[in-house]
Symmetry: C2
Subunit: 698 residues, 2 copies
């Protein structure tokens, strides 16, 4: 069911309404009576009226209600929610605490609450929520002290206290909201539902969130990426650091996915991630108020050289560039500005510029086709008031329709002027770096909104049944960790492996070696011996005549090393010319929140010493697989650095895509490392593999 009536109810019942001073039930009713355009219905069987409104004894007696706000004790709350379902209330906000956040008894109560809500298909916010605000209908259904101002930012928060903090601060700054939701324990509705609802809401320009975890990672990614085409999402996802993750877990009981998974997943979803509260709202203000820049060229117009340089440094730090002006612009500026001014970008109109000169320069640069955005920087000077300049900025921004950010470098003297431009949706700060960053948020979102989302790559030449059989066979043998004997699994998914097979007699070894031709590689195969090289269990460059003896020697070594090891045999493998190729690694592991993650990097020191790897949430589109190669610092080594032939990147991308599909097809695959995947100028081949499976998932 959609959430339209949650955010635009006509009648709201407060179950647990009371006049008791300091109570949550009183606060909610007071807030609704003070703000709500619709009708507030207090529900209380023990009082005739609450704050002058006649009560009803229960929801059944309340008539048509679009939203029930529940503030009764936890022991009663489930019955109330059940009644809401019975009488056809669509939306419930459970403010009551004492559920999952309080231990095992609360957790079981929360499961019960979820079951009831699902049975009646209720839109349930909470429990343990501060409540919900919807400025469209003037509804403050929270027990917090502040109502939000009108605006186009919709905001959800996993911390109710943070909602009160943000409202207090935002009201002071003049920042308004569309809808505000305190998510509480997310027993039913979670971030995904609100992202979808606000993505469909034409009045929401920006979606903001403070989250400590995401309930279902992959599903959230899919939902968010559809929304981010049209509506920017900016999130603070806390618990980024080890210390923070630990604190978040003890705060909400969330089992957090790994930070790497969040980073990858949110990026794949096109979600902009803010590191802190300031970044969150700076981005939101710009996105809510300004158009997106067409290109990356920024003009800086300043009346002071130093701050102009600071702004320019910030342009260099950002994904933006300093625009090169056309000759027409330069000629225009030459006419408008005195000789000592600088008409090249950053334009310095110099300290004696009055508002007319400043306006002329702003107008000229905004008219330049190479200018996609403009940052206006002013220090306090005697010949100009910030307030006059503010009016010019608002006018010129509206005229040219390009994004603008402002830097009024003053204290008290700049306050009103900042208010003026803020009202027109233009961000204003003291610090030039902050103004430029707000333009960079627009650039970042433009890139996201222009991305085309390809579906995950699907390879239809894979043999899923054969692959399953290999996994089932291993599970039947009681094996959960496999080595080279899992190479066939790769083959079934179309991943090239060196010619060869596992044999269990010296004679078979000779036969396989002969059919391969040339020197071969031989490896002991045993689920009990994971580090084959350490016991001399791998031989390279074995000539024909030594194959049989090498077989015996490998088996002998394995027996000596670990007498009770289960030896499956010896793998005899075509010897690839590794000098011709580059060793890479493709790995898969499973995140509790996001499911299978795919890792890519170059082998050896690049993974082990430099940790130069990148991760994506599977399944992957071909574009995403290809971007993984761009991501690693060592990528030039695959692309012909140091005089080598470039490798066949498409073969690497193909392997990444096929492994992503394999991991997605089989939840039983807990970990899978292809190491090395040797990439050459005419392909890529998996030389070794390690696999861990969970038989229960087969």
């Amino acid at each position: 069911m959609g959430l339209e009536t949650l955010f635009a109810p006509q009648r709201v019942a407060v179950v647990g309404a009371t006049e008791r001073e300091g109570s949550v039930g009183r606060a909610v009713v007071e807030n609704l009576l003070a703000t709500f355009d619709g009708e507030t219905v207090p529900v209380n069987p023990n009082a005739e009226s609450v704050l002058g409104r006649e009560t009803v004894p229960d929801l059944a007696s309340a008539g048509d209600v679009d939203l029930a706000v529940v503030v009764v004790p936890p022991s009663v709350a489930i019955d109330v929610v059940e009644q809401a379902g019975e009488v056809g209330v669509e939306n419930v906000v459970v403010i009551t605490a004492g559920f999952g956040e309080t231990g095992s008894e609360g957790a079981s109560r929360e499961r019960e609450l979820r079951d009831v809500a699902e049975a009646y298909d209720l839109n349930l916010v909470g429990p343990n929520s501060l409540g919900v605000i919807a400025t469209g209908v003037g509804m403050n259904a929270t027990f917090g002290p502040d109502m939000a101002l009108d605006g186009s930012i919709s905001f959800m928060s996993q911390s109710g206290a943070f909602v009160t903090a943000v409202l207090d601060w935002a009201n002071d700054r003049g920042i308004g909201f569309r809808d505000v939701v305190s998510l509480g324990n997310k027993a039913v509705l979670d971030e995904r539902d609100f992202v979808r609802a606000w993505g469909d809401d034409p009045e929401t320009d920006v979606i903001l969130g403070y989250l400590e975890g995401v309930e279902e990672g992959r599903a959230f990614v899919d939902a968010a990426r559809e929304v981010t085409d049209d509506t920017p999402i900016v999130l603070v996802k806390s618990g980024r650091t080890e210390a923070g993750a630990h604190a978040a877990a003890s705060h909400t009981g969330t089992i957090a996915g790994s930070e790497a998974a969040y980073e990858a997943g949110l990026e794949q979803a096109g979600v902009l991630r803010a590191e802190n509260v300031q970044e969150l709202f700076d981005s939101a203000e710009a996105l809510a108020g300004q158009p997106l820049p067409e290109g990356d060229g920024v003009a800086v117009v300043t009346n002071a050289g130093g701050p102009g340089v600071m702004a320019t440094d910030a342009v260099g730090d950002a994904g933006l560039s300093l625009a090169s002006f056309t000759q027409e612009t330069l000629d225009g500026l030459a006419e408008e500005l005195p000789e000592t001014a600088n008409r090249y970008n950053p334009v310095d109109v110099i300290g004696d510029a009055d508002v007319e000169r400043f306006a002329a320069a702003i107008d000229t640069v905004l008219g330049d086709p190479n200018v996609d955005a403009c940052c206006i920087v002013s220090c306090p000077v005697a010949v100009l008031t910030f307030e006059d300049l503010a009016e010019v900025v608002v006018e010129k921004q509206a005229e040219h329709g390009k994004p603008v950010a402002v830097c009024f470098m003053g204290g008290d003297s700049a306050r009103d002027a900042m208010g003026t431009v803020n009202e027109a949706g233009i961000p204003a700060y003291f610090d030039p770096a902050r103004a430029i960053r707000s333009l960079d948020a627009l650039r970042e979102y433009r890139d996201v909104s222009q991305r085309t989302y390809d579906p995950p790559a699907e390879y239809d030449d894979v043999d899923r049944e054969a692959a399953r059989e290999i996994l089932v066979d291993a599970a039947d043998r009681g094996e959960t960790r496999l080595g080279v004997e899992a190479m066939d699994l790769l083959s079934e998914y179309g991943i090239p492996t060196p010619e060869g097979s596992v044999v269990d007699t010296p004679e078979d070894a000779e036969e396989v070696a002969e059919s391969i031709g040339g020197d071969v590689v031989m490896k002991i195969v045993s689920p009990d011996i994971l580090h084959k090289s350490d016991i001399g269990g791998v031989r390279v460059g074995v000539p024909d005549e030594e194959v049989a003896a090498t077989y015996d020697d490998l088996v002998q070594r394995a027996r000596t090393y670990q007498p009770d090891a289960h030896i499956l045999g010896v793998q005899v493998q075509e010897q690839l010319d590794l000098d011709e190729g580059v060793e890479t690694i493709v790995g898969v592991n499973r995140d509790p929140q996001f499911g299978p993650l795919v890792l890519f990097g170059l082998g050896g020191i690049f993974v082990e010493v430099l940790e130069d790897t990148t991760v994506r949430v599977a399944p992957l589109s071909e574009r995403e697989a290809s971007e993984m190669i761009d991501d690693v610092q060592a990528a030039p080594l695959l692309r012909g650095a140091r005089g080598r032939d470039p490798v066949d990147e498409s073969a690497v991308v193909d392997t990444i895509g096929r492994l992503s599909q394999l991991a997605t097809d089989f939840p039983a695959i807990l970990e899978l490392d292809v190491n090395p995947l040797v990439a050459t100028d005419d392909g890529a081949a998996a030389v070794d593999v390690r696999l861990t499976i969970d038989p229960d998932e087969l």
Copy 2:
């Protein structure tokens, strides 16, 4: 001459004082009359009085004057400064513009000004300065609109407009200053002089600066490092990015040193570098108001879980750690807090905490020996006012003497409370991340202040004269770019090189090869052939019997490749076992501002593809050379990663130190690359070298 009388004058003359409305001369006199504790003497030969003060016609008639502020036109300014010198004025602030910032005529005028000032040993600020403020004597000798509040921050700025901006903003925020200097064109006094003066001033707690360039890099590093033992220096050095550097150069005409040089030099000097204005003042507030933490353990005390997690994330981002409480603290918190609270760090006193509960928790954690600093986070709640909490914070901070930062997460409701803690020197912000960063600035400066500065390493076994002869000989031959023939230069500075020498007959080649024994490496030696390998001019593993033929072949190839090349001969060199070693690179180049810079990295892909290198300003102490190895990401490869023997790091450090000394001893060395320097488990040897010299510097 010291700058004491510049910042504490008794009589100040304003040369060019006038009553003309809107003039700089009037503004300076007005500012002085409004604020200055001492006597203001207007100098004007054409007026009897200015703003009610009797004028004198010139400095000679002004009696004892400690400081002359010059606002006359540029054509007259030099004469005025000369007169100041003649009559014994020690300090001059030249506000007059029209010098180096305006082109070649101005530049020559500025040189004249400098000569005059130096002839009289004048402390001259400017020209093109906004002026100087010294709150200790209530002196506002600027033409800006604002006087500074009293405080302990001394501030210099290469942008006068930025001074006006900062004062306007700081007055609004209640931030005070000790001295403020607009540096102007830095014709005489520059950042180094003020850093020294403020380092000696007991009333200056923090030195802040906005710089677009440093005049003499190495000298500034030496001056600053002495100061940073006792007084923190925080700088915004703009022109960090390519775009910014270009803008700075056109703004001030500064020839900027490379960003890498600034980064290294400022770090070596112990200067804290702020990336933007917000960071600059956030750091300053903390450093001016709070004690330094003894260790890195931070306690977070919050009344809201979510913001507590945000603060904890910020701890993880910083160089701080979350303190582990003692059992005593945990027991104490258990007594003070309700059961649902979290007594582990971050401590959550939960939303219904009144000021007494909050105070008890703060008191307990500040008393914990594992807690070195504390961040207090509060959301708006009904049971607590920010103002009450502010008083508790001020009291507890003073009682325990540990650094504290505060997060009052509200808007208008938090303003007074922030003012209260600010007055006690405690930083307060909305954003938890900002509060934690201010504590991190204290940690960063503590590390700097505890560093011991070793003198540059000096190797007295070097043969400087022999090295000079090698350079002079090359210059005499007209050669400015040298290859392996410069290996001897390294030897004279005690850097091990493979055995061998350059020969010019096949017979000599055989003789040298024989004396070396075993296979040798042979390389063509010609100043005209820089890329020897490209023409097959390098042979490795040459056995005895092939030495003569190889000699001929190498010479033949060189002649074919470049018929007019000047061929010095062939180098015959001991063949090191490179498989046993790790290839590193040590390079030197010369920065216009900082002089010789030393670069270190691992060879091959690490330098070429990964750009994994580090730079220091020479000369280096042994500690600094050793830290260069720590700096590179690939350092584990020198330390036994992937099963290799660790190399002899001391031999690498030794080579870095000796090259640093070589580059410092000979300004003629423009570039010097030892590539590779092969490090093994029992030493390091320079295998190849490239050198560029400037004969004029010999």
